[in-house]
């Protein structure tokens, strides 16, 4: 019945079960704060009991049952809680089964309800991100604050305000109807992808990227029929697979073209490619699926020269048609330089120059194309322009090195 107990074991269980337990108790108790307090109480009990009695066979179920009892004790002492107490009693039978009739749809995992509540469009994006990490990821407020470089008090206030709005404005705790999913799913995916890109931008915050992938896997498990959900997971896995090759021995960043592809994580690549193939069979392309497909083409090539650049240009064309953006157009130009040559690509980059003037990569790409055309003086000026537009130490190191070589 028991497994050897260490603080590591308990921490792992808490991380795995926290989101699920808070989500279930939120449905039962009808209030997020009550649910969080109850789960905290139950974890305190677990920490005193488990070392002696061993970890129960179903730790999640144990936490939920204990937390519900604790919450009822608490509510009995609280006259204001009468209504909620009645509700919690009502729901005690049957055990933890979501109420199908109320939804008028399939039985849903409580965590899916929680995701749609945390990512409700009536909440600002930073609030959605903070709530999702707190309530589904089980991250502590100080951890979230550190990850987003925000003072702890600011982050705490953001979370309190968001939870207060959910309660006061009655943001519903349910999975939207199928007809509303196309409107609501992108908002959820944007939150997860934002967490991922934050984690990916800086090597020291890789825990955020891992958390985003964990959330992405959860979404893929809960909504296996949404191709964009699979597309996002594939995109994150294929990007994450390159992490070991993104940093040189001296800690500096290595660009895709110069990466040692033997250092890519083969397991993540394989999982990402399998997901992209699943998406292709669905034939309902969306922005995340197309970005994943672009990364899949890179992941399938042994090196830059052997990359199927025509395919990458075609995927960018599709992406531009679905979600036009100047940065996508810039990436397309980079691929086009490989199929049509630097002169053709430069024409496109010059057209984007005004709109993307403040974006250092526009100038970096321009410098590369000018260099390949033998226009070295202009290339050097473009590198200077790029350097003037970024404070990121990794970006600056790369650009400075190129400037020296140039």
């Amino acid at each position: 019945m028991s497994e050897p107990l260490s603080s590591v074991t308990i921490t792992r269980i808490v991380t795995e079960e926290y989101g699920r337990c808070v989500a279930t108790l939120t449905r039962v108790l009808g209030d997020i704060d009550l649910a969080e307090d109850a789960v905290q109480d139950a974890l305190t009990v677990a920490l005193t009991r488990w070392p002696a009695d061993g970890v129960p066979p179903n730790p999640g179920g144990w936490i939920v049952t204990t937390a519900r009892r604790r919450a009822l004790d608490r509510l009995r002492r609280d006259a204001v809680g009468r209504d909620k107490e009645a509700r919690a009693f009502r729901e005690e039978q049957p055990q933890d089964e979501p109420d199908e009739a109320e939804e008028g749809g399939p039985v849903h995992d409580d965590r899916l309800r929680m995701i749609f509540t945390c990512c409700h469009p009536a909440l600002a994006l930073p609030a959605r991100v903070a709530l999702t990490l707190r309530l589904l990821g089980g991250l502590e407020t100080p951890e979230i604050a550190r990850a987003f470089l925000v003072p702890e008090a600011t982050m705490a206030q953001r979370i309190v305000r968001a939870k207060n709005k959910i309660r006061a404005a009655r943001i519903p705790y349910r999975v939207p109807h199928d007809a509303d999913l196309p409107d609501r799913v992108p908002g959820v995916l944007a939150v997860v992808y934002l967490v991922f890109t934050e984690g990916h931008a800086t090597a020291t915050r890789d825990d955020l990227a891992a958390e985003a992938i964990r959330l992405g896997r959860l979404l893929a498990e809960l909504m296996p029929d949404e191709p964009e959900v699979l597309g996002l997971l594939a995109l994150m896995l294929l990007t994450e697979a390159r992490r070991p090759a993104r940093t040189a021995a001296d800690g500096s960043r290595v660009l895709l073209a110069d990466q040692d592809r033997a250092r890519w994580d083969a397991e993540l690549v394989a999982e990402g490619l399998a997901l992209v193939r699943r998406c292709l069979r669905r034939d309902a392309p969306g922005p995340y699926q197309l970005q994943a497909a672009i990364n899949a083409v890179h992941a399938s090539a042994p090196d830059t020269a052997a990359t199927d650049w025509a395919q990458i240009v075609a995927l960018h064309d599709q992406l531009l048609a679905l979600a036009p953006s100047p940065t996508v157009a810039l990436n397309r130009a980079v691929a086009l330089a490989e199929t049509e040559g630097p002169a053709a690509a430069l024409i496109i980059v010059e057209e984007l120059a005004e709109r993307l003037d403040r974006y250092h990569l526009l100038h970096a790409v321009r410098a590369d194309l000018l260099g390949r055309l033998g226009r070295d003086d202009e290339a050097r000026d473009a590198l200077d322009a790029a350097l003037a537009r970024t404070d990121d130490p990794d970006d600056r190191a790369l650009l400075t090195a190129r400037r020296r070589r140039g």
Partner: protein, 116 residues
């Protein structure tokens, strides 16, 4: 069910709608109100006079001061309002969306803390 206030966010500056445009808006609003009534969510609606018709009363010791004009001058004011009784925010936002489509101005949806 919970009460929500749907306020019409009206800009102080800018051209007011022409008579024809106003007729279209009033037609839309009448239709919307009957839809709300049919759905059983409608409590009250009304359009407000301009802020410069307002009078502010303020307690000052044992006395009450009367001042002419709005409480504060703003770039936007509440030009009209609807109160609905809806099951949750998603339902309230549905009627808010319908309202902004009917009137062409921004709608603020805000929950009541309490209501009779």
């Amino acid at each position: 069910m919970a009460h929500y206030l749907l306020s019409v966010v009206t800009p102080t500056e800018g051209e007011p709608p022409s008579e024809d445009e106003m007729n279209v808006i009033m037609g839309n609003v009448a239709k919307l109100q009957s839809d709300m009534q049919e759905a059983g969510v409608w409590v009250f609606s009304g359009g407000l006079e301009a802020p410069d018709t307002a009078t502010v009363l303020r307690r000052s010791g044992d006395d009450v001061l009367v001042t002419d004009g709005p409480f504060v001058e703003l770039k936007e004011y509440v030009g009209g309002l609807t109160i609905i009784d809806a099951p949750d925010l998603d339902a309230a936002l549905h009627w808010g969306r319908r309202s902004t489509e009917a009137i062409g101005l921004a709608i603020e949806v805000r929950p009541f803390h309490w209501a009779p």
